[in-house]
């Protein structure tokens, strides 16, 4: 077969072959050009083009000075990095746990034949469309020590011993923020869990009920195993959100009190835009970007594995 075709091909005159081979259609190139151009100039170029900045000492005004790897070695002496990293880990772990638990719980409640399901679902999702600035400022008032809603509720209920300076006390400022972040996002995770729950065939539960399995056994042996891919999606989304946290800590406390809510993105921002240490902030943002990228790759793998299963 192969020899026959090659033999045939040799006999085809060049003049017939050339046009079909060489004529490249320009149209598809023009179609992808705007997207690729935008993406290249405003994403890829700053992504790599900024690397030289990491080796400079530069305040944005004076001419920059080359300092070698100083900006990178300095990170090991920066006492705020372990602090911000620790806070960030607490922030990410705390929000992942709270968002996942609360959204799974509410999704299970809404997966029943309840009247008003649609209303509950729509309402719990509402804060997702709101700006973090609005959410953060609103909760700054709710948590206000003197006149905030939380403390006046405690007072009205006679629970005065629970009255706290929710954002002013360095021991509880971070947990308070986790509540705000969870309040904003758990409706989002709930909708994803609900979509996952709806793919589980009802017959499985009916069969389990026939066998006399309790609600808990049904949850542990049917729901949870079948929900694992969706659970992973939710966890990775919340994890990335937690490590990218900036808006809420910046707006509510600017990282305070006593740096108790300082997270990495905020630390980089403050070094860069408040102290004008652009070189150092660039070096930090590259290290941090590599970390976030690794997390994203894990997320991407989780998501694509999820597609394969469906």
């Amino acid at each position: 077969m192969a020899t026959v075709t090659t033999g045939l091909r040799k006999r085809v005159p060049d003049s017939v072959k050339k046009p079909t081979r060489r004529r490249t259609n320009l149209a598809p190139f023009l179609f992808v050009l705007p997207a690729v151009l935008f993406y290249f100039v405003f994403k890829i170029v700053p992504m790599f083009g900024g690397l030289p900045l990491a080796f400079l000492r530069w305040d944005g005004i004076e001419p920059p000075v080359f300092v070698g790897v100083d900006n990178f070695t300095r990170m090991f002496e920066d006492e705020l990095i372990p602090l911000a990293l620790g806070n960030n880990i607490k922030y990410a772990a705390g929000t992942v746990i709270m968002k996942t638990a609360l959204s799974l719980f509410t999704a299970l409640l809404l997966n029943q034949a309840l009247r008003g399901r649609g209303f509950y679902r729509t309402t719990l999702f509402t804060p997702v469309v709101m700006s973090f600035v609005v959410v953060g400022l609103l909760w700054t008032w709710i948590f206000n020590a003197q006149i905030g809603l939380v403390n006046s509720l405690m007072h009205a209920l006679g629970l005065d011993f629970l009255i706290q300076d929710w954002l002013g006390d360095p021991h509880i400022s971070l947990p308070s923020m986790l509540v705000v972040d969870t309040w904003r996002w758990y409706g989002f995770h709930m909708v994803i869990f609900l979509a996952g729950l709806q793919t589980i065939p009802i017959e499985l539960y009916e069969a389990a009920r026939m066998d006399g399995a309790s609600r808990w056994r049904q949850f542990a042996n049917i729901t949870l195993p079948l929900l694992k891919p969706v659970l992973l999606v939710n966890v990775t989304f919340a994890l990335l959100g937690g490590f990218n946290a900036f808006d809420i800590p910046y707006i509510m406390t600017e990282g305070g009190p006593a740096n108790s809510t300082l997270v990495m993105a905020l630390h980089i921002y403050i070094r860069g835009f408040k102290f004008y240490k652009f070189g150092y902030a660039t070096a930090m943002s590259y290290v941090w970007a590599v970390f976030i990228t690794i997390l994203s790759i894990i997320q991407f793998r989780v998501l694509s594995r999820n597609t394969d299963n469906n």
Binding site: F31, V32, F42, G49, L109, P127, V129, F188, E203, A289
Partner: protein, 299 residues
């Protein structure tokens, strides 16, 4: 068909078993239902009350703040809105946010739509390469200072361009991903036959593909619109003049200036910034929820 029969048989059997066990199962189901409603009502109130309270506070007088913490305002102080609107330059902010968000939506849809069409429906050797390049690099974040330095070097400080261009670049990969998935579901014969009738690729795209791509366009549009409307960081580092602020930035600036004294105006500003989007959400909740969760559910 067979599914419905088996499940109806199953439910018949279940109800027979229920009757056999007496009312205990029914009572349990009733209790679960009541408890579920009770919990969901509390959670709903925890979401809704802060929003309602925000609107309450925005209409109160300065004196009411400490005396009437929880309830509705005794009278509607519209003047709070007027003051917030004027001193906070919120009119500018609404216009800026609208221009920036709509520009991002349009540019992302055009760029990503064309690219996804080339990748899926045209004979294009480099289609897969372009697609995987976008997908593999999309989750790597752009380090903020290099982006800032570049936008400053391009003299984009204090311009719409500084807010629009990076947002378009950021939105393209995921939108290409969404459009590609949608276009793959469209039969190629549709486009082939249009081309036989003399359509060029562009006219086939505009006349055949675009009109039937409503769902995909809506998903991309909602995600990009809300993301850009609520974006805080980019305006924070790129915008200096008050007249160029977007809504989140204007509200935050207003709070820093007046938050200690004119709290009722701050609540008016918060309400102005929130109500349009929340109303839009309740009008089109199905599309909003679908659009915002598309990345997690469909990806």
């Amino acid at each position: 068909m067979s599914n419905t029969t088996t499940s109806s048989i199953a439910s018949q059997q279940a109800s027979r078993i229920g009757r056999a066990f007496g009312s205990s199962i029914r009572t349990e189901q009733m209790l679960v239902r009541i408890a579920s409603h009770a919990i969901l009502i509390v959670l709903t109130l925890l979401i809704l009350y802060p929003l309602v309270w925000m609107v309450f506070e925005s209409f109160k007088t300065g004196g009411e703040f400490s005396t009437n913490v929880w309830g509705p305002p005794q009278s509607l102080q519209w003047v709070n809105y007027v003051d917030a609107w004027n001193t906070g330059k919120l009119g500018y902010a609404l216009v800026n946010s609208t221009i920036v968000s709509l520009s991002v939506v349009v540019l992302v849809i055009v760029c990503a739509g064309l690219a996804a069409y080339a990748i899926t429906k045209m004979r294009f050797r480099y289609g897969p390469a372009v697609f995987f390049f976008l997908i593999f690099t999309m989750s790597a974040p752009v380090p903020i200072i290099p982006l800032y330095a570049m936008l400053v070097a391009l003299h984009l400080t204090d311009t719409y361009g500084a807010l629009i261009l990076p947002a378009v670049a950021g939105g393209i990969p995921f939108s290409v991903f969404m459009f590609r998935a949608y276009f793959l579901s469209l039969p190629s014969e549709l486009i082939e036959s249009a081309k036989v009738d003399g359509c060029t690729d562009l006219s086939a795209f505009l006349r055949i593909v675009v009109p039937i791509s409503g769902p995909a366009i809506a998903t991309v549009a909602i995600l990009q619109f809300i993301g850009t409307w609520n974006e805080y960081f980019l305006p924070l580092i790129m915008i200096r003049t008050p007249e160029m602020r977007t809504i989140p930035l204007a509200i935050q600036a207003f709070f820093y200036q007046w938050g200690r004294t004119e709290w009722q105006q701050v609540f008016a500003a918060l309400s102005i910034g929130t109500i349009p989007m929340v109303v839009l959400y309740y009008l089109m909740q199905r599309q909003f929820i679908q659009g915002l969760t598309a990345g997690a559910i469909k990806a």
